[in-house]
């Protein structure tokens, strides 16, 4: 599903160049649930941004579902993001004047789906994260965990190939974190490929594979016995 070879990325900080990713080789197969771990500054968010086409690498190759991701213009990138990727952010990033349902339906709007279909699908995905009753509520009326579940439903709505989660539990207490991880695990059970950036051990252990990043290189890549979140919920 994801094929990365010799990925490099530097940031220009004034006169200094900060080499963040120093040659990453990394591949993810369909249906995997991968945790990307590392301390801050290790390059894990940069890697995720490049994977999410929110940022572009300086060097190296990146194939997503056998499509080369390189030199995309903004419009093309927007189409690929819409088709291939679903994002889950630490700070939820819901549009505050839209209801839960409208937020979930938004990626479908950019897929030019009909309004009726958008609403049906959005309701469906809201049901999947257990928030059918909250469809007409604004984000400000939802708790943190609920907001993240809306965000997950939104990420799923476009039926992407890969879900990218950037610290999805970073803003949540541990109980809510486990609820969110439970949902992520269930989605993965259905076959969705998911990448989770986190710095929390327990969250990482709920994935099936952990990739450790340090100073811009992968120092460890291991399969783990998945801890089911449902037992904590």
């Amino acid at each position: 599903m994801i094929e990365i070879k010799d990925l490099h990325k530097s940031y220009q900080m004034g006169s200094n160049s900060l080499h963040v990713l120093k040659g990453i080789d990394f591949s993810v197969k369909e249906g995997e649930l991968v945790a990307i771990m590392g301390s801050s500054g290790s390059g894990k968010s940069t890697l995720l941004n490049i994977l999410g086409m929110l940022d572009e690498a300086d060097n190296g190759s990146y194939f997503l579902d056998n499509v080369p991701i390189k030199g995309l213009n903004e419009t093309k990138a927007a189409h690929y993001r819409n088709q291939f990727l679903g994002f889950i952010f630490q700070s939820f990033n819901l549009i505050n004047y839209k209801t839960a349902l409208e937020n979930v339906a938004l990626p479908l709007y950019y897929q030019r789906k009909k309004r009726k279909e958008r609403t049906e699908k959005a309701l469906d995905y809201l049901g999947k994260v257990g928030l059918s009753k909250w469809a007409t509520h604004l984000p400000s009326e939802l708790s943190g965990g609920q907001k993240q579940r809306v965000a997950i439903a939104r990420a799923l709505a476009a039926d992407p190939k890969v879900l990218l989660a950037d610290e999805p539990t970073g803003a949540l207490d541990s109980t809510t974190s486990y609820e969110v991880m439970d949902i992520i695990q269930k989605i993965n059970d259905e076959g969705k490929t998911i990448l989770v950036v986190t710095h929390e051990e327990d969250i990482a252990n709920m994935c099936k594979r952990i990739v450790h990043l340090k100073d811009g290189v992968i120092v460890e890549d291991k399969k783990v016995e998945q801890v089911r979140a449902s037992q904590y919920v």
Binding site: N49, G52, L54, D55, E74, T75, A78, H79, R81, N82, Q83, F87, F89, S91, N93, L94, I95, N96, Y97, K98, E102, L106, P107, Y109, Y110, Q111, R115, R154, A158
Partner: protein
């Protein structure tokens, strides 16, 4: 542009971001409102200025006489210059093709009596051409004609208010009116847009007056109208020519200012044009100033509005919005708001001007109106300005990387 879903998305954004909508709409509406009212007031000023000229025909030259102020060619100063019928004929025939209408005037006052009513009125003894020079409008009956002149009839034409004063509800037409002991027959009643005083006048044949009072051929004044195709400059030189010829005829020093005075609206019009130009300039500057402040206002609001939306736009981009759809959405929204608000301002402005109406006449503001074309152009300018002001930040927002837009918390 005609995507229904896009509009739905925009209406939602508008209705759920009321403050933003209100601010940008308010700026535009206020701008157009002030622009409309100022322009209307300016036009009102112009109207009241112009209305002082509508009473008489614009192309009139007045020829008056007085006493000489200088000794000349053996004549003493302070000699009385008296126009006579031959001077009138001289002017009428000497400038063929240039003179359109010509009439002498003899001024008198008279006490008019009918039944038990009486009143003192100005009498003007004139030639039938006077009707066209004074823009006299006949309500009933007829004006004086050549027969009245040649036969020295005792026919008179009276103003609307003379009839109202003396005849009350009766019609004066065909009635006999006694003026200073002489019986005249009313053959017509007129009205005049020059105000009440112009409608309290009695017109009669100048030759009749000459016969009845003194049996001479004296005239007080000669009014002519020049061919309207002449233009202001030509008209001014024409009136100078008349003045020169008459001064020669009466042996008056060429630089004598008081013996023969020829004046025309042409000079007034020239002066008026300068003042009008000044008023236009002020209106123009005020209008442009209002528009510019409106443009700056809408520009600020748009920049602020897009800054506020940076995060939302970043989210949309992450979800697959193309730069084009971002720019399109932002601009369509701003077009919608500015158009509706601009229209609102326009309607309110026109309504305000209607309400003001002629209430400010004493401040020289008469019938304040605006040219719809001007206002529509102003509104479109503001919309375009809002568009431009929105486009620059919108394009920046569309170019910004979603991760940057989403970064700051």
């Amino acid at each position: 542009m005609f995507d229904r879903d896009r509009w739905r998305e925009i209406f939602e954004a508008i209705s759920k971001n009321k403050l933003r909508t209100f601010l940008s709409g308010f700026t535009v509406a206020l701008g157009i409102l002030i622009f409309t009212i100022l322009l209307g007031m300016g036009n009102g000023l112009l109207n009241s200025f112009l209305s002082s000229f509508v009473d008489d025909a614009q192309n009139v030259i007045f020829i008056r006489s007085g006493n000489t102020s200088k000794a000349y060619k053996g004549f003493q100063e302070n000699r009385r210059i008296q126009f006579k019928n031959e001077d009138f004929e001289f002017i009428k025939t000497n400038y063929l093709g240039k003179v359109e209408f010509a009439t002498p005037r003899i001024y008198r006052n008279g006490l008019a009596k009918y039944d038990k009513e009486s009143g003192s009125y100005s009498i003007r003894a004139v030639h039938p051409d006077h009707q066209y020079l004074e823009k006299t409008i006949m309500m009933k009956g007829r004006y004086l004609n050549e027969e009245d002149i040649n036969d020295r009839t005792k026919n008179i034409v009276i103003g609307r208010l003379v009839e109202k004063d003396l005849f009350k509800n009766e019609s004066a037409l065909g009635k006999i009116l006694n003026v200073d002991g002489i019986a005249y027959k009313v053959v017509g009643v007129f009205q005049d847009s020059g105000g009440d005083n112009e409608e309290r006048i009695i017109y009669m044949s100048y030759k009749t007056v000459q016969l009845l009072f003194g049996n001479n051929d004296h005239l007080d004044q000669i009014n002519i109208s020049y061919n309207i195709g002449m233009g202001t400059e030509q008209a001014i030189s024409f009136s100078k020519q008349i003045e020169k010829d008459l001064k020669e005829k009466f042996k008056v020093a060429p630089d004598d200012q008081s013996a023969i005075r020829v004046s025309s609206f042409a000079e007034d019009i020239k002066e008026t044009m300068v003042i009008l130009g000044g008023i236009y300039l002020v209106i123009f500057i005020v209008g442009i100033g209002t528009l510019i402040s409106g443009i700056i206002g809408i520009g600020n609001i748009m920049t602020f509005s897009i800054k506020e939306r940076t995060k939302e736009l970043g989210i949309r981009k992450a979800l697959g919005a193309t730069p084009r759809s971002i720019i399109g959405m932002v601009l369509q929204e701003s077009i919608l708001i500015t158009s509706v608000a601009g229209y609102l301002g326009l309607v309110l402005g026109i309504l305000a001007l209607k309400l003001i109406g002629n209430n400010l006449e004493e401040f020289f503001i008469l019938n304040p109106r605006v040219d719809t074309t001007v206002i529509v152009i102003a509104t479109i300018t503001l919309i375009l300005a809002g568009l431009l002001a929105g486009y620059i930040p919108a394009r920046r927002a569309a170019k910004i990387k979603p991760i940057v837009a989403l970064r700051d918390e």
